[in-house]
């Protein structure tokens, strides 16, 4: 898997302060790795493969690929 090739570190970062909680990222996530409540969002770390589809699909640039890895 892609994630393993990158030392297994989570690299997808959501900026919650900028998020509109629209669910577009959740809809494209092949791993069901995003949890979205009314006004809260998080990546479910063990499920995410860093595939980046959510990064591309986010209409408002809230999800980033952070090549240094995300500190949880």
């Amino acid at each position: 898997m892609y994630r393993q090739a990158k030392n297994g570190i989570l690299m997808i970062e959501i900026l919650p302060d900028k998020c509109d909680f629209c669910g577009c990222c959740v809809g494209v996530c092949p791993e069901d790795a995003i949890e979205l409540k009314e006004a809260a969002i998080r990546i479910i770390d063990p499920l995410c493969t860093n595939c980046s589809k959510c990064v591309w699909a986010c209409p408002i640039e809230v999800i980033l690929f952070n090549k240094n890895g995300v500190k949880l």
Binding site: C25, G27, V28, D32, A57, I60, E61
Partner: protein
């Protein structure tokens, strides 16, 4: 609140509320769980809908109609405009009131509605879904149900938990942003405007839908594939700066529209999917209000019948009934969408130029798509099936 219902509906959008109404009106017990604190808010929609298709479900009411439209205006990348009157008139809705009204109708039919109830799992007995887990005001709860109707929108997680592959290919996801703006003076209140072109909304379109009193919804959708290069938000901000630098933004929203064919399976043991969650959006237009309500109505009716007949397997008839009503049509729309997906600006310009030579009384949507796809004979048959009566 009871601990067990015949039917639990997840999501109080149009699909969920209509499903609840059609089920509850048969006398079975129905609970609707909505994650947000308000039904109908925040709105994630362009709010335009065809009059005829709405009429099947709800009496028109001025309180949720912002504008009545009867013309399309298509604007090519070079600025040339093609206007056509359509036979079926349409509405631009006030969704926050519209959705609220549908939920009210569901409750009048006997359904219970609970907001701020976030569904986060399913209950199973062997392989059959027997209820849902949800969080309500910080507490984890459970409710049993004979049938769960998942109308949880674009996210469609409930279906995944039941083993369905509901995620949308990111190329088919239209990633949208929309501003509701005031001080828009140069638009016609009976016209829906659509802008095309790679600088405006590649593999999608930009819309301006009038909402009356110099206000309008201005939004656009681009494919996730395009979003890889540049975000929907950047495209919209550039359009606004160029065309409406003085507009005041009253609301700003993001959203995803799954523009694909319907899921292969929309019912499994104890669970049915409806609306965006079932991918029942018209993949060509991205319109999902009417088709979501239709999907919800079929799901709700069949779920109610299944309970009353005590025949759990009756819910599997939902798939074929949806396919016959709109599913197959959406496959045609999807082929047309794929046919125009990669059109260049030059192509859009030449379509507009050719179409402007058509006498105005002969301009129809069918004729427009025929002009657009004249070099793709196999798709002309599809155009004839859905646009030419």
């Amino acid at each position: 609140m009871k601990s067990e219902y015949d039917i639990v509906v997840v999501g109080a959008g149009p699909a969920g509320s209509v499903a609840a109404k059609y089920a509850a009106s048969q006398g079975v017990s129905v609970l609707v769980l909505e994650k947000d604190r308000d039904v109908g808010y925040p709105v994630r929609c362009g709010e335009a809908v065809s009059k005829d298709r709405l009429a099947e479900f709800v009496e028109p009411d001025k309180k949720w109609i912002c504008a009545e439209v009867d013309k399309f205006s298509f604007i090519a990348p070079n600025g040339n405009e093609v206007v056509l009157k359509f036979d079926q008139q349409g509405y631009v809705l006030e969704r926050r009131i519209f959705d609220y009204e549908l939920a009210k109708q569901a409750s009048e039919a006997g359904a219970e509605i609970l907001t701020r109830a976030y569904v986060n799992g399913l209950l199973f007995n062997n392989d059959k879904v027997t209820g849902v887990k949800y969080e309500y005001r910080g507490e984890q709860k459970e409710v049993n149900a004979k049938i769960v109707i998942a109308a949880d929108g674009v996210e469609s997680r409930v279906g995944r938990w039941a083993g369905l592959k509901t995620h949308v290919d990111f190329r088919d996801m239209e990633c949208c942003v929309q501003y509701t703006v005031s001080n828009i003076k140069d638009i016609n209140n009976e016209t829906c405007y659509f802008y095309f072109g790679k600088n405006v909304a590649p593999s999608g379109y930009l819309w301006i839908f009038p909402k009356g009193n110099n206000t309008a919804n201005i939004g656009l959708g681009i494919s996730g594939l395009e979003g890889k290069k540049k975000s929907a938000l950047s495209f919209l901000n550039e359009f606004m700066a160029e065309h409406y630098p003085d507009a005041s933004v009253l609301t700003s929203i993001a959203g995803g529209v799954p523009c694909s064919i319907t899921l292969e399976k929309i019912s499994v043991q104890g669970i049915m999917l409806a609306g965006d969650a079932a991918r029942q959006v018209n993949p060509l237009s991205g319109g999902g209000i009417a088709s979501g309500m239709l999907g919800g109505s079929i799901a709700g009716r069949i779920a109610g019948e299944s309970i009353k007949m005590n025949k759990p397997e009756h819910i599997f008839n939902y798939d074929s009934e949806w396919q016959d009503r709109y599913g197959k049509k959406h496959e045609i729309y999807d082929r047309i969408k794929n046919g125009i997906y990669d059109f260049t600006d030059e192509k859009f310009n030449s379509i507009a130029d050719s179409f402007l030579k058509v006498p105005s009384d002969k301009r129809t949507l069918g004729k427009l798509f025929t002009t657009a796809l004249i070099n793709k004979p196999s798709l002309l048959i599809d155009v004839a099936k859905v646009f030419i009566k």
